[in-house]
């Protein structure tokens, strides 16, 4: 009898405790819902989205040297790489770099394998296609999306000893095609010969210190840009594309330079 009363008391107490908890959650905690199509959530820096190709903003070359390590590393063999050697520069030029995103499992292995910091896991997540037949993302598309994560490449080995590998916290620089600083630099430019000195666009030129002090990369935008870049046009961007409107993005760059 006492057992029954005691048990009933215990049950009632834990019952009230539970009700109290849910009531507090209901009344005092606001909803954490993100109203997705209306507002976009920001993703953390270690987000593993689509693998994208990075570009060196100083010269406009892609970082990839067609070494093929990522192709080897990919567990599901979805990376296609075709290359030839440029007879003049003696460097490998990627003819085709494509990822079949319908089978990619976003495992990050290709990024970890790449010794030249040429790949990055993008933060974009609105990657749906109207035509699911063709989920093969070609080089131009990967490069164009990858621009947002590109900066001026630092010379030397990719990772210093003890430092965080660049794929852990990749940064969003928010760079656009206008931020490619070489006059001849365009999206999808093959690696140039050793000792190539970039000819900077007018807005990046600094009379005294052109060569030995490369200008700072475009400052990272405060808000993560998550909207997908305009759809890739077939074929590369023409090299004679006019330079960007002076006064737009580059004013921010100049400010950054002077602050240095």
């Amino acid at each position: 009898m006492t057992n029954m009363i005691g048990e009933a008391w215990r049950a009632g107490k834990s019952f009230v405790t539970g009700l109290n908890i849910t009531f507090k959650e209901m009344v005092f905690r606001p909803a954490i819902t993100v109203f997705y199509p209306d507002e976009l959530d920001t993703v953390p820096a270690w987000f593993r989205g689509i693998p994208l190709l990075k570009t060196d903003l100083l010269t406009g070359e892609y970082n990839c040297t067609s070494c093929g390590l990522c192709v080897e590393a990919c567990p599901v063999n979805v990376i296609t790489l075709e290359w030839h050697q440029d007879p003049i520069t003696k460097k490998k030029v990627a003819d085709r770099y494509a990822i079949d995103m319908s089978r990619c499992m976003l495992c990050n292995y290709c990024i970890e394998a790449c010794p030249f910091d040429a790949l990055v896991m993008g933060m974009d997540y609105e990657l749906c296609k109207v035509d699911p037949e063709n989920m093969v993302y070609e080089m131009e598309y990967l490069l164009r999306l990858g621009l947002k994560y590109s900066s001026v490449a630092q010379p030397g080995p990719k990772a210093k000893k003890g430092a965080l590998p660049p794929w852990v916290f990749h940064e969003l620089t928010g760079a656009t095609e206008e931020d490619i600083q070489d006059e001849a630099g365009f999206l999808g430019r093959a690696p140039q010969a050793k000792g190539y000195t970039p000819v900077l666009k007018a807005q990046y030129r600094k009379e005294e210190t052109v060569v030995d002090q490369p200008p700072a990369p475009a400052p990272a935008k405060v808000e993560a840009k998550v909207a997908v870049a305009p759809a890739a046009t077939p074929g590369m961007v023409p090299p004679d594309q006019p330079p960007a409107n002076p006064g737009g993005t580059e004013s921010g760059n100049k400010d950054g330079e002077e602050a240095e």
């Binding site: 029954m4 009933a8 019952f15 539970g18 009700l19 908890i21 849910t22 009531f23 959650e25 209901m26 009344v27 905690r29 606001p30 909803a31 954490i32 819902t33 109203f35």
Partner: protein
């Protein structure tokens, strides 16, 4: 209009009245379903820090309309070996038993469709049909999950029905009538806060637990335990037949909540605006000790809207109180559902037979003794000088 009505033959009058009341009850049930279903989803969302349905109208509060439309146009999938008559009839039987509750619930002063004198017993009898509906669905589906769910549902509902009626008997002993309108009247006559909630607190607790089990709601939703039996007795149902089960569930919920409100919270009784103002004026006047301008003004306002004490106004106020109290219980059921995990079937049976039934029997005994003493000795008057305390006054009339 009245003359025309009086000239109609008696039979026609009865049929017309029945049709009118029936349609009203159906509309009222559907409206309650639409609201309670969205409320359930909203409450669960709030408790889980979400927002719930949001897109369809008024921040999602009209979600029931697109849901029902969708279910209307969906395909009826019927497994090959079903027992067809049982399979098709089951949702309708369940729906009927849920809707019939509303026949006798007083939703306002004198606002019952049928003022049956067997009241409570009628409800207990009607909800018995729900067991049959569940078992028909489970047996007719010819599916092991459905059958298991139906067996559990039948076992659970039959055993808890006993407890449920036992817990109501305490209230019936207080009133001396089974008629629901009499029960409300008795609570009105007991004066301020004369609800049966306090004198029948044990019966109230047992009633709440047992009606949750009777409704197959979490934590007692064993007959549709989705983690064990796909969705229990309505596993094989789709389209609008499934929707009828959903309708049944929510109409049942609101129906039982209205009965709980009627039995323990005084149903439609409650102060209306003039009475509230009068009370406020009295308090401002210090109960007549220091009459002042503000108190008088409030009292006069109460007198000037005194017409609200009668007629349609009183009815509307009663209805509002009724709806508020009903939805208090609806919310309580949802609150419990989204708080507690599901119990095991043996725990459920233990709770029902070994704990709730003895407790409700004890409640009957206790109510009898207390009421006998309180009525025969006029609430055991204890004199402290000039001040007389009526012990056990709660149980006297």
């Amino acid at each position: 209009m009245v003359a025309l009505w009086n000239n109609l033959p008696h039979l026609v009058q009865i049929w017309l009245l029945g049709l009118g009341k029936g349609s009203l009850i159906l509309v009222w049930c559907l409206a309650n379903f639409a609201f309670a279903m969205v409320l359930e989803r909203k409450v669960s969302a709030w408790m889980q820090n979400r927002v719930g349905p949001w897109r369809s109208g008024l921040h999602g509060w009209l979600q029931a309309i697109p849901d029902l439309l969708k279910l209307f146009v969906k395909e009826y999938i019927e497994p090959r070996n079903v027992d067809r008559p049982l399979f098709i009839l089951a949702p309708l039987v369940g729906f009927l038993s849920a809707v019939l509750i509303w026949l006798i619930v007083p939703i306002g002063p004198g606002g019952t469709a049928m003022n049956l004198d067997i009241g409570i017993i009628f409800i207990a009898a009607i909800t018995g049909y729900d067991v049959i509906a569940i078992f028909m669905a489970g047996w007719g589906s010819n599916n092991k999950y459905s059958l298991l769910g139906a067996m559990r549902g039948a076992a659970q509902m039959i055993s808890y029905e006993v407890t449920l009626v036992m817990s109501i008997i305490g209230v019936v002993m207080m009133v001396g009538s089974l008629r629901l309108s009499d029960i409300v009247e008795a609570q009105v006559n007991r004066g301020f806060f004369g609800w049966f909630l306090l004198p029948q607190i044990i019966g109230f607790g047992v009633f709440i637990i047992a009606s949750l089990a009777e409704l197959n709601r979490a934590p007692f939703d064993l007959s549709e335990a989705e983690s064990e039996l796909v969705s229990g007795y309505h596993t094989e149902y789709s389209g609008f037949r499934w929707a009828v089960f959903a309708l049944t569930e929510y109409i049942h919920l609101v129906g039982w909540s209205s009965i709980a409100a009627t039995l323990f919270l005084g149903g439609w009784s409650g102060p209306n605006l003039p009475q509230v103002l009068q009370g406020l004026g009295n308090i401002l006047n210090g109960l007549g000790a220091f009459t002042n301008v503000a108190g008088d003004a409030v009292s006069n306002a109460a007198v000037s809207i005194g017409f609200m004490n009668t007629g349609m106004w009183a009815w509307a106020v009663g209805f509002i109180w009724f709806a508020l109290k009903t939805y208090l219980f609806v919310f309580l059921a949802m609150w419990i559902r989204w708080t507690l995990p599901r119990v095991r079937i043996d725990q459920l049976m233990d709770l029902g037979w070994k704990f709730l039934l003895p407790v409700s029997l004890f409640n009957i005994f206790l109510t009898g003794v207390l009421r006998f003493v309180a009525v025969n000795y006029n609430g055991l008057p204890v004199s402290l000088g000039s001040f007389t305390l009526r012990l056990l006054g709660l149980w006297a009339n």
